[in-house]
Symmetry: C2
């Protein structure tokens, strides 16, 4: 059973909806902030990952920006070493690069994500990050 | 003499460079986070307005998003009532609408700005917000 302790203390944005379990492992909470439309060819959301929670492996057809607003976590491109994330970090994720991001096992991670669209698509979800893959990064 | 008390306590991003006095009244500090290029047709910056500081009147040819991360302030479209801003507010500024934003007279305002480009232009600066205009909003 996954944790559902949606503690939003100190967060900038209201707590959102639970991230779908097909695309997220563990408890994540997604707050949509801006939708695509008109001059805006991206969507903006705040995502809270509880400790141990992370995305599945995925790609973005036109890239994504992460602005880390609280906590600690990781960003890993497939085949590369993971990069630590902390409050104030900015990640510029290139198009079509397989990667994941999420919290460390002991801390939450909160980031704003700006997800660029290519046509009507801003993400392609792939396989879960296994416990073995995750525990090799967040020890 | 304008205040230069660049107190960054509690802020997510590092303190930036002083905003140019042609485009800002009072003390503002701009931290660039993401530049235009490749799939990214916008720029992202964090802006700290000290109490009383504000932009001049201006327009964006393809609009701008504000994500308020701390403090209190105002957003005003020309000819309309000002809208109060506080931590967690999101403002979707349409293209070509004359407006200003900034801190209240007693509180700082900090926001992330996502400024969309039309060609190579993301802003057109106009006249300063006068003391009379400002004091009618921030009493």
């Amino acid at each position: 059973m996954e944790t559902t302790n949606n503690n939003n203390e100190g967060n900038i944005f209201p707590i959102g909806e639970r991230g779908p379990s097909d695309y997220f492992t563990g408890a994540t909470w997604i707050t949509p902030l801006v939708q695509k439309g008109g001059d805006i060819d991206y969507m903006v959301a705040s995502v809270l990952f509880e400790p141990g929670a992370r995305t599945t492996w995925h790609t973005h057809p036109a890239g994504q920006i992460l602005l880390v607003t609280d906590g600690q976590g990781f960003y890993q491109v497939k085949g590369m070493s993971a990069q630590s994330l902390k409050k104030g970090d900015v990640v510029n994720i290139p198009a079509n690069v397989e990667h994941w991001h999420g919290a460390s096992k002991d801390n939450r991670l909160v980031h704003v994500a700006i997800s660029n669209y290519k046509g009507d698509i801003n993400v392609t979800w792939l396989n879960p990050v296994t416990e073995e893959e995750y525990s090799s990064v967040s020890k």
